[in-house]
Amino acid sequence: MIPAPFDYVAAESATHALDLLDSYGEDAKLLAGGHSLLPMMKLRLAAPSVLIDIGRLAELTGIRAEGDELVIGAATPHAAVATSDLIRADAPLLAHSASQVGDPQIRHRGTIGGSLAHADPAADLPMALVALGGSVDLLGQAGTRNVPADDFFAGFFETSLDPGELIAAVRVPRRPGMAWGYQKFVRRANDWAIVGVAAIDGRVALANMGPTPLRARAAEQALAGGASPAEAAELAADGTEPGEDVHADRDYRRHLARVLTRRALEHLT
């Protein structure tokens, strides 16, 4: 499968990428690892006129501690997130979630910022960022604004990124030693979650239970009120509007959300 023709420009810096976005307009797309975008272009589900390559900008890669947060450059590949000593110590739920994306080759190329910008509601990293209460730094011509994960995912494959912005970095709170739970139900190895659950610090996030990654707020409130994991998990599907597909209907997805939430909460790591 061959993508439709496009022009390619390698950005020399993040600000150069912003200038290119401005000059090419909404037909331009940012390219980092390309592991969500290129498959869509090969299927002709996307046909941008220009790709602006930010995948090799050193200023957008790397992992560092900043006060009580970890800051991860948006173009950092999943493999680096999964194996980072810093992330494994201070945000192990994020490291584990990154290790569950695709397969080794995909994790060598796909990036954390790319996965979040793609905003597939079934994906691992959007769910993890919501569970962790993380945020994204969005760089635009007017400067950088920080958007919490709960506000970033706006709809089905939609984010609150403005057309002239790029994700510069991802921030997650440092919580060394805090217990976390992660569950992903798939029919085939390497597949997207039919339903996924990530839980930490009283927060429960769900993948593929609606158009965006969602908080299981009723379950969280029950936990805060002293409910047992099993009691809270019974409420995990409350308020969700899961879709239906060949893998699962709505009732089955709601059932999975309850079961997987119970498992995530009962088997904290």
């Binding site: 061959i2 439709a4 496009f6 272009m41 080794p104 080759q105």
Partner: protein, 166 residues
């Protein structure tokens, strides 16, 4: 667009369309037919090659699925395909182990399996059987010959550690 790559140690300069996929560049421009187009959807791993930046030292590179990389994204990088592994008539230890352990049936997945295995062993020179199976989860063998493939990778790891030929 003009790209400059080092492919199997040879520096090349080619004029390519931005939409040209790395696997098609390797097969059709370079004439290297080891990397196969299997699923064409980043699933099967038959197109796996190694890629590394010119400024990265050490390893032979990381494994990537060349059906999901643009040739222009590989501009300035070093790419290794299965054709680039052997040293003259001397097979690479992973290739020798695949032959020794009969780690193939029809052979279609083999170049990708071998490249994924070389990448895996550069990251983890002493893997357990479970780590080999997980490390090759991005490569499908539709003959289902996984058992001997895993044995071959373990044998290659052993041979590389001890310096013996498989």
């Amino acid at each position: 667009m003009q790209v400059e790559l080092t492919v199997n140690g040879d520096r090349r300069s080619d004029d390519v369309e931005p939409r040209l996929l790395l696997v098609h560049y390797l097969r059709e421009v370079c004439g290297l037919r080891a990397a196969n187009v299997g699923c064409d959807t980043t699933s099967c791993g038959a197109c796996t090659v190694l890629m590394k930046g010119a400024d990265e030292g050490g390893t032979e590179g990381t494994s990537v699925k060349s059906c999901t990389v643009l040739a222009v994204q590989a501009n300035g990088q070093e790419v290794t395909t299965a054709e680039g592994l052997a040293d003259g008539d001397a097979l690479h230890p992973v290739q020798a182990a695949f032959r020794q352990e009969h780690g193939l049936q029809c052979g279609f997945c083999t170049p990708g399996m071998v490249m994924a295995a070389v990448g895996l062993l550069s990251e983890n020179p002493d893997p357990t059987e479970a780590e080999v199976r997980e490390g090759l989860e991005g490569n499908f063998c539709r003959c289902t010959g996984y058992h001997n493939i895993v044995r071959a990778v373990l044998a290659a790891a052993e041979a590389e550690r001890t310096g013996a030929s498989a």
